[in-house]
Subunit: 247 residues, 4 copies
């Protein structure tokens, strides 16, 4: 681990010490296609953080009872108390991604979600929760490469799923779902940040820097370099048409 | 119990049988000043309903941990699953009532609540939950009378609290809080219904009739008389100034 | 409501006032065959109690996820905090009753439950929770009579279920399950109390008296008459063979 | 990462694939003095496991409400559903460790816990949950060394706490608490396994091997070397007196 990474990790530690003191609450959402690098980025982020102040939430599929409840109901109990950082490894945005592509919910439910998410998030943000929404973007070639590697790596067999094949076969459907999701749920209070994730190391570095600038007190963020704007950038709806997000 | 009351109870039973079949979910909120008759009306309402499909939620005061969380977080886990009726005996509206009068939260938190409640409720309603919000309105004289009776009734000692004295002493502050609350959170999707509650029997009959018209299938509601419009009526902001709600 | 009933209700109120002050926690379990009168007795018991200190728990059937968890897991979150009274309308004893008769769980799971319940309850009791376990016993004729009445009463249609027919047809299987359950889970720390429930009024009076003697401070219990020993009595295993419980 | 470690990680992945298929549930408890290496060992263990089937539970301090409830109540909701692995980073054993040394609970509560834990765990095990209890044992010198290092490492500042000073100052009190805890809660169904943790690498390797032998199907465990018996060994009460655990 180089000097620079060390500096970032140190700043994250300082950020959480400050939050423990101030009571600041933070939610970070990691979304992105399969193999985009969510798990790895989360491991890097939590590496030196407090196990008691940090919760990584990766919910199993809903129970039969939960499926009949208000959609956000199973996420709400995991929201942070004072000083806590909650990281969602996939989140309520399932309804705008995999569920759209696979038809796991109705189009009415999906439309409702796109209407609700901005209001739901607005309430969280206005209640004082810092909400960071990250979209890890991976190219089609890189995904194909990673899926292939995954299939043959005995250490990654828990990541292999029936959805993998779909990830490739339905690349365009996922793209369309992503574009709709980002466009509809990118709001001034809860903006999406996009990260080009083909290079894992660059992506992680950019994410940590971004988080620090978004959530750390000024004196801590001050010395943190800005993330590379070619790697991490605010979502812009107009970028979709000229292919900026997609490469 | 007369023939008429019996008819209403029978219709409520049919309504819940229909909900058990259709999966319809309902939330009823009972709000009103101290002694307005919330507990009694809820008992009447639930008299013949299924203990397994009906939940009456009367939350204790928040824990120290809950106090640092998103305000709606402790209410959300109680929302209904398929076929369920959830009755809130006081609800999230605490923040717009007793907390305002007693200063249990900051004015910023109270302002935030008034902004959030309509969005929160809109989501519930659009997700298919039938939401009925009832304001039981009692006159100053009748409250004074009931508080006096309560103080001297050994069977009502659990209802006596330090807030009773405040209820009278701060009558006007409660009125102001109520007016703000009703005005700000009365929305097309989640309207407030007001009930003159000085006459308990009339109030309860009107509430049951109203619930049936709001939540029962047409064939059940068809034979239910409409509630007396002098007893139960939709909230109207303009009514406040001419003293209609207040008598 | 007569003078005597009034006295009991007053004493219950005093008991809960004392618990609110001392922090005393209480759990009351109501078990018994279908139509034995659990719902009605609970209504009588809670009539004047605090809605905020009292919780009646009647759980829906377990979700698919819950079915794979530790059996007691879905009951534990409902256990009381300081000053609270929690009433289970049917409880973990489902596994020793309806599940046995209907084959809703395996005999191994049922055997495990009979082994576990005494230990589970011992822990609750030793942690300071007052645990009262009530078996409402009804005769075959009275049950037949009530089921018949229920079928024809529009107000009781929510209580009619497919299990009603089984209640009669499998009377002996229920008896055997009951005898095993009472014999195996009647312990010095968590004894069963049996109530002859054919006469509803007598049964309810006896239950309230018993609760007061079991859970109220001495100065409150002092004036409460003892329950009629022909109506309410401690379970005795030997009584089963000579038909005492069964009439 | 060498070939051997890789083999272990691969076997862990296979174990979890098998559990996902069979529904096998596992609970692993990590206990040990401050700096004994719990966090690091858990990171190694979960490195390639499924984020959706694995939960690491590190509870914050109890809320004011939780403090009045049954002691195990706040742990129970985290127990595993089908196929899940739940890892407790510190656990209900807090009551037998830090609470004893620091006086955070009464001696009566601590005595009750020592009585209850074996019964509580017996129920979990007999319900089919595989329960593995690990005590990471560290020498006084090594702890002093690690605490010193921690104090000066900016990356470890979230681990520094007021309890650190106590860890050293009250070494003997912690030893006494540990001896009581291990002796009283080491049962045939839920035995303690001790790990000499002064050498982190050796300790982690031994833990992974042990877990595999305890929880993996025979065909997976078959090729896994046994843990070094000088590093990992079953607790034996008689060992305490001759200083075996303590070096």
């Amino acid at each position: 681990m180089g000097k620079k990474t060390d500096d970032l990790q140190r700043a994250l530690v300082e950020m959480q010490l400050a939050a423990a003191h101030s009571g600041e609450r933070t939610v970070v959402i990691f979304e992105g296609r399969d193999t985009a690098g969510k798990d790895g980025a989360i491991k890097r982020l939590t590496e030196h953080l407090s196990v008691r102040l940090t919760r990584v939430v990766a919910l199993p599929k809903p129970s039969d009872r939960e499926r009949t409840q208000w959609y956000f109901q199973r996420y709400v109990p995991h929201l942070p108390a004072a000083g806590e950082l909650v990281i969602f490894n996939r989140s309520w945005y399932n309804r705008a991604g995999v569920e759209v592509v696979m038809g796991f919910s109705t189009t009415a439910e999906q439309a409702e979600f796109l209407r609700d998410a901005p209001d739901f998030e607005r309430m969280l943000v206005e209640s004082g929760i810092r909400l960071v929404k990250l979209w890890l973007d991976i190219s089609k070639d890189e995904q194909a490469h990673r899926l292939e590697k995954r299939r043959n790596d005995p250490l990654k067999q828990l990541k292999v799923s029936d959805l993998d094949k779909v990830a490739e076969a339905k690349w365009d459907a996922y793209t369309a779902a992503r574009d709709t999701m980002l466009t509809r749920t990118h709001t001034p209070l809860a903006p999406w940040t996009c990260i080009r994730a083909d290079d894992k190391h660059e992506a992680r570095t950019a994410i940590l820097r971004h988080l620090l600038h978004r959530t750390a007190p000024a004196d801590i963020a001050h010395d943190v370099p800005l993330p590379d704007p070619d790697i991490l950038f605010p979502f812009e709806a107009e970028a979709l048409s000229d292919g900026r997000l997609e490469r």
